[in-house]
């Protein structure tokens, strides 16, 4: 009969009216400023730079200004200038560091590609979203001081991922240490051999050791891709 569909519709809306008072599956509103939504661990918004410790963020940035993220960034929102000098990093090894590292958050689209391509685990995704400012330009251009956040913060927002990263870094470091030791031993042996021969030049340490703080420094180059292909 004409009108039965309409009455059915009225029943549905009445059910929802009642349901919105007692059924959390229907009434899903979170009243935001008072109640903050629970962010999933995977949530990402804008990158930040990881520093090893909180007391000296600029001295312990993991970033070595290799500029890969700058090249890979699809909207080109990262600007990096390498330092002329080298500064000791967290492990006391001299490294090139970013003299300028700026991200224009008005351009950044939080796509996470910088994070994925970074061979040093130096840039990670933040979870900030209350970032309104009163100006359109300077306040949205974040420099390295604003971008640097300690590793403990990273552990706070992405615990699982950060633990993986730390484990991987430690493993790398250990491997590099062993390699360096082996290299040193080899060097010593070579030196000995050289001393014995008293003519041939000493061999150079392998490239991989640069990854580790105990490594020998020099201009950083990206890790071979095959190592990081399936990570994350």
């Amino acid at each position: 009969m004409l009108g039965s569909g309409l009455l059915q519709g009225l029943a549905v809306t009445a059910k929802n009216f009642v349901g919105s008072f007692h059924d959390p599956a229907r009434y899903t509103t979170v009243e935001y400023p008072e109640v903050k939504p629970a962010l999933p661990e995977a949530y990402r918004n804008f990158p930040f730079l990881v520093s090893e410790n909180a007391t000296d963020p600029m001295g312990t940035l993991r970033c070595v200004a290799c500029q890969i993220c700058e090249k890979e960034c699809p909207p080109q929102c990262i600007y990096i200038e390498k330092s002329k000098d080298k500064k000791p990093d967290a492990a006391g090894k001299p490294q090139i560091y970013p003299a300028i590292f700026a991200i224009d958050t008005s351009v950044c689209m939080s796509c996470q590609i910088c994070v994925e391509v970074c061979p040093f685990d130096a840039i990670k995704m933040d979870q900030v979203f209350e970032i309104a400012t009163t100006t359109r330009f300077e306040a949205l251009l974040l420099n390295r001081e604003q971008l640097a956040k300690p590793n403990s913060y990273y552990h706070g927002i992405h615990p699982t991922e950060a633990a993986e990263v730390d484990a991987r870094l430690a493993a790398d470091r250990k491997a590099a240490e062993e390699k360096a030791q082996a290299a040193a031993a080899a060097k010593a042996a070579a030196a000995a051999a050289a001393a014995a021969k008293a003519a041939s030049p000493a061999p150079k340490a392998p490239d991989e050791s640069r990854r580790s703080p105990q490594g020998e420094g020099g201009p950083p180059t990206p890790k071979p891709q095959s190592e990081r292909g399936a990570v994350s």
Partner: protein, 386 residues
């Protein structure tokens, strides 16, 4: 009314401008109009309230998507594809990934194929639910179906967020797999959502499908003939609503779709109601696919271990990758010269191509119909204007 006015193209619009018919009224609907789904403009010529001519104007949201794709690396285009049809980022990602994988000959692990199917069908649920809500909003419901649709959409977006980190701009697929491996908790949450979705659809349909006003508003309105639909290259639910059995999931059998049991609903009249119903029925089929895919989700790697992320340079050649997106055939055509960027990057946007038959559907209908016909095409201006 003069039957001549009903002919497609409205060739003789000015001829009827005589004393008997009175003046024609030209109304510019949009770009700032509540129901043009973004910044879209229809220049409508009216005889009374009947449409005798309709000229769509778009491009207000043009942002050089295709040229941009030629200037950034293959990976760099992935987040941009999110922004084409921002309601179905996951399927856009997948179509682009398929194109690049074809170009580079990159295999995809089985687990990733299953996850892709799950995400694509979730996207279909999300997109069709939203569309039904928008369409009913265009019909004049005071937001109620739209809010119900958005309530459920939020639940799907929560899943996307906990998996990919972003609700809409997922940037999730990679060449040779997916970026993140879904956890068992995520799979369980998806299973719960899929289990509850049927009940939501029942309620949603109780509110809308049998409603006499909606039937009166949408049945016989905006009829699109199968012949015109095929000639114009219309795809997706719009084509199926005209009765043409065309679904890339069946005909292309990409991914692991051949492993799942599902049916393709077909309309018979090609009107707005059919387009709405075909989508609703498709959602029910999507639920079936999701149940099967979640049950059969295999273990193993989510990413091909040999896949390259950085310094990705496919050999010279060309490839066209397409999938059945929620709106129709979403395809990416790529030409590589062996460099890090594509030489040519071209999108086949389903909602843009579906929109081309708008005038043919609207002629002879009223202004009120034009609004719901536009709503039933299911456009997202991010994709139309690119």
């Amino acid at each position: 009314m003069n039957p001549e006015l009903l002919t497609p193209g409205g060739a003789n619009v000015r001829a009827v401008h005589d004393a008997f018919h009175g003046d024609l009224l030209e109304v510019s609907m949009g770009p700032h109009h509540p129901s043009t789904h973004g910044v879209f403009r229809m220049i409508v010529t009216l005889d009374g309230e009947r449409i005798v001519k309709l000229k769509p104007v778009f491009g207000y949201l043009h942002r050089n998507h295709e040229k941009l794709g030629e200037t950034v690396s293959y990976l760099g285009s992935m987040p941009y594809t999110d922004r084409l049809d921002y309601l179905s980022a996951m399927t856009n990602n997948w179509a682009y990934a398929i194109a690049v994988e074809k170009l580079a000959g990159q295999p995809v692990p089985e687990r990733a194929e299953y996850v892709r199917v799950i995400l694509a069908e979730l996207t279909r649920l999300l997109n069709h639910t939203c569309l039904a809500g928008f369409l009913m909003q265009d019909c004049g419901c005071s937001g109620t179906p739209l809010m119900y649709a958005f309530r459920e959409r939020e639940k799907i977006l929560d899943l996307f967020e906990s998996l990919s980190g972003s609700r809409m701009m997922c940037n999730y697929q990679r060449f040779g797999g997916c970026r993140v491996d879904p956890t068992p908790a995520w799979v369980d949450a998806t299973r719960t959502l899929v289990g509850n979705y049927g009940a939501f659809l029942d309620e949603f349909e109780a509110l809308l499908t049998g409603n006499e006003i909606i039937m009166a508003r949408t049945q016989g309105v905006g009829v699109l003939s199968a012949a015109l639909a095929i000639n114009a290259g219309v795809t997706g639910p719009m084509l199926r609503a005209t009765g043409v059995a065309s679904d890339l999931r069946k005909s292309d059998a990409y991914g692991v779709y051949p492993r799942f049991q599902f049916r393709v609903p077909l309309g018979a009249h090609g009107d707005v109601y059919d387009r709405y119903m075909v989508r609703v029925l498709e959602m029910r089929e999507s639920i079936r696919i999701l149940e099967q895919a979640l049950a059969g989700l295999p273990g193993g790697p989510i990413m091909d271990p040999k896949a390259k992320l950085r310094g990705f340079r496919p050999k010279a050649g060309e490839a066209y990758g397409r999938i059945e997106g929620p709106k129709g055939e979403i395809g990416f055509y790529l030409v590589s010269d062996g460099g890090p960027n594509p030489l040519r990057y071209r999108v086949r946007p389903p909602s843009f191509i579906n929109l081309t038959v708008l005038e043919d559907m609207c002629l002879g209908q009223t202004v009120a119909d034009a609004v719901i016909i536009l709503g039933s095409v299911d456009i997202v201006l991010g994709e139309v204007d690119r």
